[in-house]
Symmetry: C2
Subunit: 395 residues, 2 copies
């Protein structure tokens, strides 16, 4: 090979998570590293049935090319669902079906970002969003975040100083990696800021349906007066990730731009996957299914938090997420979680070090714990081993 | 909306084909506009069976996240197939599964193109490749092309003058839009040029399996001494496009870079779609299936060519493709095919005007005819109507 690649390639590194996942494929490893849903909850039998129904009734159409926008009945369901839960007022033309919400992020980069633009995000933020946006040559300004969400006064200070702010990227519900949820107040403020500064917002929401307690809060989008806010969603966490079906929602004019960009990117999403999900939603009770998921994840969250309280040494703090898949652990400042990971791997326990969730680096004394994809027995055993390792570091 | 989008958005327009396709959804329209495979040939019953088998045996895995690289048995099949047909020597790690070959083009843009780079292509070339690459801010140099392929002396002249040549994009087999196939000689020469100038090549090959006569030619990749050449492929034309499963193949080092880029773009392709295709390939005779497709498309090609010969006026020339889905029509220079299309639509006949297949514009006296997705009766009727319209323009 004697050719030249694009400049962006020098910034593109393997996702640390995906690399750790490879190590943890061995069955003896107790892994808190992934973000995988519990596969025992996938509705396999129901999917078999809807596959047969779709192919029996409409096989040729299900296997053919279709529109870039996505399968209309599915987009209608998504719009209706968002309106009833999140205070939006969408119809199907506000929705573009994407390859998981990850593609919604990539397309957002393509729609909004020129080289040298700035993306504002929570600190820390979702690792793969950093990768997606960075491919378009942007830099990041991280805004300090507390248990209520982004600290808005800091955001304003930074926006006032920044000449090429292009995108605000936020995950207000059960954030990845911290598990935190934004307060109502901060949501309203963020929407106001977006209008005041004329900056687009991507409100990423893959976990919002997985609330364990308390009331669903309206989306930031529901307070959007300027039409600047886009929302993502996905079937990966409430149905199955293997289908790679998610969406992006927003004002029709901007969604039309996303559609054009998706045309050139990969034409459209899998036709039959969209029709199967749509048929499933028509025939089965998705709320009952989500309740099943929530109940099990809630138990796992409870057990994780309880075990961490019992076995983690003093000086280690962690979040108690109200939903989602993740908790976030902070160690005393002098401890590097990559060193902890090394010792843990010797004990066949894995997690993701927190450093890579900070686009500009730093905070190596943090790590992320996933609790959705493991038996209760393994959660206790794994966290006990992890606690023992931590005790040695802190002693 | 009061935000700013990326500069690239001012270049991104709706695909003319996709827009015409919307008009032609009316059942009374005889459309030569699409590039759709014949849906009556989709193996619907077999797919029902493999879906059930995959879900019975391996349901949880089929619906879960999986690796970015793609399902290993499927990649093994692809490598083996390419080696036996195209003179390559790949194994599964030379292959990345993509969302159709369209995504292979988008990822190629991301891997190779900086703003201001130049892509060299045939003139005319595949419309959606232009869109895919243009999103990364490149410009195009079109190389004149005859019935043997790109005119290599012209390519050399242009490469010598160009300081930021980054990519050569070619479709050597049954090209879209012209239906032309490159000679063996030109393939060898192109591979040499790529090594001599240190420029990467994307050899796009969605139609190669659909040869109606003559012998399969080795790929350009098979003459690659520098490791500069990447090949795309897809299941869309030999199986079903609705699955959105294609691939890109090349030297392992560069494929590894594509994998990293795909990670940030959409994580991975649909797991169950990959497993179903793999199971289908294991249980059924894909060669017999492809033969069925070839036989029918050959008949439709024969009938199209014969009818065009009968009803098109003198002064109109067209290609006689040895395979694939498309023929290319050239009108006398003063006739604009968009005007012809307007009159044809009044007669409920559609095609794609040729102008948009030239990235730098021009050649409005051309158009593309698709013959794969229509009954023989409609082919004759449609081309007769088209011939009548052309006669009025040329009289």
């Amino acid at each position: 090979m004697d050719f030249q690649m694009a400049r962006r390639m020098s910034d593109i590194k393997a996702s640390e998570i995906r690399e750790i996942l490879k190590i943890t494929e061995k069955s003896e490893v107790i892994s808190f590293a992934g973000g995988l849903p519990a596969p025992e909850l996938f509705p396999v039998e129901e999917i078999k049935r809807v596959n047969k129904m779709v192919l029996d009734r409409d096989g040729q159409r299900a296997l053919q090319y279709s529109t870039t926008e996505g399968f209309r009945p599915l987009r209608e369901w998504i719009a209706h669902r968002m309106n009833s839960r999140l205070g939006t007022s969408f119809d199907c033309d506000n929705i573009l079906v994407t390859h998981g919400s990850q593609q919604a992020l990539d397309l957002s980069g393509k729609v909004f970002l020129d080289e040298g633009d700035v993306v504002f995000c929570e600190s820390p933020t979702y690792l793969a969003a950093i990768t997606a946006f960075r491919a378009y040559g942007c830099s990041f300004i991280e805004i300090p975040t507390d248990d209520e969400g982004m600290i808005i006064s800091e955001l304003v200070t930074q926006l006032e100083k920044c000449e090429n702010a292009k995108l605000l990227y936020i995950i207000p519900d059960f954030q990845n990696p911290t598990g935190r949820t934004w307060s109502l107040e901060r949501r309203k403020e963020l929407a106001d800021i977006s209008a005041r500064f004329g900056v687009a917002v991507v409100e990423d929401n893959p976990y919002g349906e997985l609330r364990f307690e308390g009331k669903t809060l309206p989306s930031v989008k529901s307070f959007d007066i300027a039409g600047n806010i886009l929302c993502t969603g996905t079937f990966s966490k409430i149905f199955c990730p293997g289908y790679r079906i998610g969406w992006i929602a927003g004002d029709k004019k901007i969604i039309r731009q996303y559609v054009l960009v998706k045309q050139g990117t990969d034409l459209q999403c899998n036709t039959i996957a969209q029709m199967e999900i749509s048929k499933y939603l028509e025939l089965y009770d998705i709320d009952a299914h989500i309740n099943k998921i929530r109940t099990i994840y809630r138990k796992r969250r409870d057990l994780s938090v309880q075990t961490m309280e019992e076995v983690f040494p003093t000086g280690v703090s962690f979040t108690r997420p109200q939903g989602g898949l993740f908790a976030w652990v902070e160690l005393p400042a002098h401890i590097n979680s990559r060193d902890v990971l090394e010792k843990c791997l010797e004990q066949n326990v894995a997690f993701v070090p927190g450093g890579s969730f900070f686009p500009n680096g730093g905070k190596e004394n943090t790590f992320r714990i996933n609790f959705s994809n493991m038996s209760e027995e393994k959660i206790v055993e794994g966290l006990n081993r992890l606690g023992a390792v931590l005790n040695k570091f802190i002693d």
